[in-house]
Amino acid sequence: MSGPWRSASGGSSIDRSRPVRFEFDGRPYQGFAGDTLASALLANGVHLVGRSFKYHRPRGIMAAGPEDPNALVTVRRDAARYTPNLNAAQVELYEGLMAESQNRWPSLHFDVGRINDYLSRFLPSGFYYKTFMWPRKAWHGFYEPRIRAAAGLGRAPSEPDPDTYGQRFAHCEVLVIGAGPAGLTEALAAARTGVRVIVCDEQAPPPRTSPADSAGEWHDIRAQLAVMPNVTVLARTTAFGYMPHNMVALTERLTDHLSAPLKHVPRERLWQVRAREVVLATGAIERPLVFPGNDLPGVMLAGAARTYLGRYGVLPGARVAILTANDEAYRAAVELRAAGVEVVALADLRPQVMGRLPEAARQAGMTIRTGTTTVGTRGDQHVTALGLCAIGADGTVSGAVDWIGCDTVLMSGGFTPSVHLFSQSRGKLTWDASLQVFVPGAAAENCRCVGACAGEMGADSGGSWLGALPRPEGPATGKSFVDWQNDVTAADLDLAVREGFRSIEHIKRYTTTGMATDQGKTSNLNALAIAAQRLRRAIPEVGLTTFRMPYLPVGFGGLAGYARGELFAPVRKTPMYDWAAERGAVFEPVSLWQRARYFPQPGEDMHQAVARECCNVRRACGMFDASTLGKIEVVGPDAVEFMNRMYVNNWSTLAVGRCRYGILLRDDGFVYDDGVVARTAADRFHVTTTTGGAPRVLAMMEDYLQTEWPDLKVWLTSTTEQWAVIAVQGPKARAVIELLVEDVDLANAALPHMSVARGRVCGVPALVFRVSFTGELGYEINVPADYGADVWRAVWQAGQAHGICAYGTEAMHVLRAEKGYVIVGQDTDGTVTADDAGLSWAVGKSKPDFLGLASLRRAALVDPNRKQLVGLLTSDPNVVLEEGSQITATASLRPPMKVIGHVTSSYYSAVLGRSIALALVSAGRSRMGQTLYVPTRTGESSVTVTNPVSYDPKGERLNG
């Protein structure tokens, strides 16, 4: 006997021959295979399963499905597999399951937080908004951590998630959501036409061997569907998101119901299903009644009690009082009595009750108290009595209260169609005045609703009640809960209306009704009815709040899927990556690339390595992997015209074999990208871009070419990954490469600075650029990427005699900053013009048009007080300013102070023996020699404004 509260027989889902042991809050219990955690706890007489969110009131199991607002538990397998906020009615029992209650301290039965309940008149709606406004600073440091600690929805696991998660795209003609009778009927009809059908249901599949009960014929349909090759049946699979164009997201739970995870099976699988037609057969959810003390453990939905009895053979109690406004509850009365439960009261809010089901109850000898309401419940941690009272002919409640001793209260206010997914699909909901619920109206997608979710409730399901129950005049004797999970009462909704809220959207946010993880599955309609009544408006006039994804909480693991760890983002590596890694390079990510940042020798830190690399380049030479630079081939009869329109420069005057520093603006006049552009043929440009900017520059070029200037005959091709680029920089650069280079005359006259030649390097076809991003004599050897590693090694070997070093991006940054060369995205930020950056010399001012030209005439863009790029020298040469620091004109101010600029680049220059910095400063070029101030964490630094070029200002070293 697994639990004292089992019926003598029955229970279509459980296997009484297979007992299962489990723990709840450390205590051992036993259930049966096929139980849920909720049914197994109830079978053991455990009703108190959690404490409520705000008041820490004891809470029991109210429902038997995903709509249950109370029984949130944590299920723990090990330190890493620790899942909070699972719904006990959805947790399938397995051998050794360990579950814990949440939101209680120190224990579930004695919880200090319950004091909130007794102080509740000081905790009305909007309490947090009203109380914790002042002082503002205290919010982060004091109030919020304490509120969060007190308001518990479990703890997150402390270890990385060890499980794997799958993802799958699927296509079908018909997707049926919900495998109840309506869904199965639709699925079979569609499947018989031969089209692809997917059927999903959030529950476990019912056991094949279970005794044929009323669901017998549905077992037949399941068996038929299971063998049809065009049908996929997904159990334990929740449809949680309905996206445009009939894309539905499903989450399939594959191992959570097993006693141990499976090694080669993902824990969950996210399905993205594109369906020609979606059939929603999502059923309806029974509504609780709103009366004082309706949240005591032992108070349950009538339909839930039927489910626990029918599927799991569980008795909710021994003495049951039933209060209903709906005929379905009479099934519970009859079935429970047949199972040996005493029905101590059977009350109905309606004045007359005549349906087939109430008649059956009467014929079974039960008395129905019609026209009856309740004044509330009694009990501390479990219900002990229900106070019934007659409703007068005029609707008032004034008679004597009949306290009925009981251990269970079953309630039913009728059924609310589960229109969540239909509403997510932007289908319109319409108010059904006879059913008193919202039902699906005009669909926005190719989607149909069938069964109870469409309002087809069946002939025996008449009757409903919305909003608070009638009760005697005077103050209420207890809290009447509307939203169990967020602890919202009828009085909270009254208060919101009294305080002036009119829109249901505002009332929802102010009271937080319907905003918990259950999204108000049991509460929305009651809350709406109460608000409408207080506003003296009809329910459809007040309107329903929007349902949003997800229908049920979805774990992050399932959404992340494969995109974790190494697969989180693609990693791009240059052909020289392995060489650098073997040499102990430290890498840094630059967009998706892994770039060598510096090459430390034994015992060196970054500072020392960078200093050595910089000095080595300026004294002898260094080599640098520049392969990540973006490269775009611009080819065609109109290539020159296209480049003239895109870039600020004048390309008509660029001879074949020469290079020019190109600047690309957006049409708003601000710098977008830069790079060296080589004219490799009359109709061909080799355009380089910043490492991170390559995709967006190509996209922008395509945009203008395709949509603004489709008449231009130009073709654009990304060649970034076709070329490996080896920069050799320093006074010895020519000496290093000259023995490797064929067919190119490297002499200054033949290949001057800013020129390019085709030839061979180590026998490999190559483009040899004479360019410099260091201010030294420099070459950039471009060879096909497959030869990159070999040519790099050959250059390295040849360079040994000349004292070559490999240098990384950090030294590259210092060397270019010494020369005042900007880095787009570091020294510019999307609000910097070419002139601001000191680059107006590059602008082809006589050109009729180029991107940004029109904007450059705007008054704001020629304002002399704009921030301009300058150099800064700290008065203490050892102080390296922090990049991003603000700059002021006056010393020793306290905030707020007038900021006139900021530091964009800052390094220690070993070559110069002092710190250097670049900055954008208002009217900076007119401030040469001025002293400015940079507030720092430890005081402030005084700085002198200088030319951005701090090394070799005449540029003589470019010629070696």
């Binding site: 996206m243 445009p244 164009h245 894309m247 993205q272 594109r274 932007r426 926005a444 049409d667 708003d668 996209a699 395509e702 945009d703 395709q706 949509t707 603004e708 489709p710 009729p848 048009d849 030209l853 029109a854 904007s855 005439r857 705007r858």
Partner: protein, 85 residues
């Protein structure tokens, strides 16, 4: 996730495309007024209903084209090539 009809390739999932903003905003002549340039750069409608917008089949044919999408339902009413109306 939308299903987008590329006029060159046919219907493909949104994953293959990138959004290009409102369609039919012609770039003014250089000589145009500051107001015209400001409108070109900064003024966009916020339509409730059918909205002509640009998409690029980035991970497909690479072409820019136009789509009329109802912003209240996300249903795509038609798609057509750049330069067409």
């Amino acid at each position: 996730m939308l299903l987008i009809p590329c006029p060159y390739c046919g219907v493909r999932p949104e994953l293959e495309f990138s959004y290009g903003g409102q369609a039919h905003i012609a770039r003014p002549q250089t000589s145009a007024s500051a107001e015209e340039w400001a409108a070109f750069q900064y003024e966009r409608v916020n339509t409730r209903g059918p909205h002509a917008e640009r998409w690029r089949h980035t991970h497909g044919c690479g072409r820019f084209f136009n789509v009329v999408r109802d912003t209240t339902t996300d249903q795509i009413l038609r798609s057509y090539r750049s330069g067409e109306r």
